[in-house]
Amino acid sequence: MNDKTMNENTGQWLSAALDDELGDLSEFEIHQLLKACEEPDTLDTFERYALASSVLSGDVVNPGSSLLVGVRTGIEAEPDMAMTGSTGGERPQWLRPLGRVAVAASVAVAVVFGANMLDTSTPDEVRPTSPVLAQQNGGGIDTTTSADNLNVVRRAVPENGVTYVSDGAAAGNYTAAANETSMTLSARQLQQVRQQRMRRYLMYHLEHASLNNNSGMLPFARVSNLETETATGH
């Protein structure tokens, strides 16, 4: 044997592998063979076996025309086959339109779900007007918010807060009602109030957005920001 690193078994396996005649090997033997093939000397031997075999078979071969290094370099950047899926390199053609339908369907579901969330059954009420922030005299802040159907008003006085009221015709009513039935709300009730107000804003937005163009999506972001700003007290 030419290479001391290669034992008799490995040499015989390589020879048989060249002829596709390895027969039954245990998983351990297969592992041993592949492990041996990590050695450059073993691969060189296998390559010479293949070269001699090709010469004897009458193939046109030139010594020193090994492709192994070039092919290795070429596939170096390729992802492992296991990572690209075990079968089928590309999706079948018929799956592509199906994918588009799936995307369209999920958008439709999202729209329907979103519409349900808007709760269009909200009774006619005073259309919310632009919120205004009013600085109170005493530095204490009242957060007075409309709550028509709930008929409640949150009065909280944080240090640097701002009184938050709705302007317009409804504002006076709210204030009057608040004076009469003001009470301290729990956090949960406050959340409900906020949700009510959000729904009204969204309804208002929907009515106008449907009359306008695609930029009607913009107010959603503004409302969202407004809520955040309100929560953080800015």
């Binding site: 046109v60 010594p63 492709l67 990572m83």
Partner: protein
């Protein structure tokens, strides 16, 4: 009980499909000269033929997940090599050689004659030298080793057929062919080292 597996091209391909790039090395080594020989029928420049053959192997690697074993791996690889060579020639706005028809049988003796015309003298000399070395080593083998290796290489018999012809176990055939290759390899290695 130890699980036994039939390892051959199919097993190597399956391992490549599972992400084992080492197994692809064996397939490249095993078939590179055959692929070069096929590509050489279309692309006569030796350096270009090597590039095209290399590209064919890379394409085969990329597409190996599409190989389902309906045909032999070599048959599949052969088709890729032929298509790669044809595409290369189309890209170069050249026509494939009319000397060879890919549908013809794969006898390569005609190919050798034709290629001799376009080979450099050095390449031609090296190839002839190699052939001489291999045949000389073959001639030096004992009769039983020579019989086993020639039945395999010249006549293409399977180990089982050879075992029947020589009236010996398959294991003995495997061993004899290996020993024959070992002797030949010693001479080939000397030749390659001297090159």
């Amino acid at each position: 009980m130890v699980e036994e597996k039939q390892i051959g091209d199919q097993e190597l391909v399956a391992r490549v499909q599972k992400g084992d790039k080492r197994s692809y090395d064996l397939l490249v080594i095993k078939y590179q000269y055959k692929v070069l020989s096929i590509v050489g029928r279309f692309v006569k420049d030796q350096a270009e033929a090597q590039d095209v053959a290399q590209e064919a192997f890379i394409k085969a690697y990329r597409a190996i997940n599409n190989f389902r074993g309906d045909s032999a791996f070599y048959t599949w690889l052969y088709r890729i090599a032929v298509n790669t060579a044809k595409n290369y020639l189309m890209a170069r706005k050249r026509r494939p050689s009319s000397d060879f028809d890919i549908d013809d049988d794969e006898s390569s003796s005609d190919g050798i004659e034709a290629l001799q015309d376009i080979e450099t003298p050095e390449a031609s000399y090296a190839r002839d030298q190699l052939k001489e070395v291999v045949e000389s080593a073959l001639g030096s083998l004992s009769e039983e080793l020579k019989m086993a290796i020639t039945l395999r290489e010249y006549d293409g018999f399977s180990y089982e057929d050879i075992a029947e012809i020589l009236d010996c176990p398959v294991g003995t055939v495997r061993s004899r062919i290996f020993r024959a290759r070992e002797v030949i390899d010693q001479e080939v290695k000397k030749f390659m080292d001297a090159e």
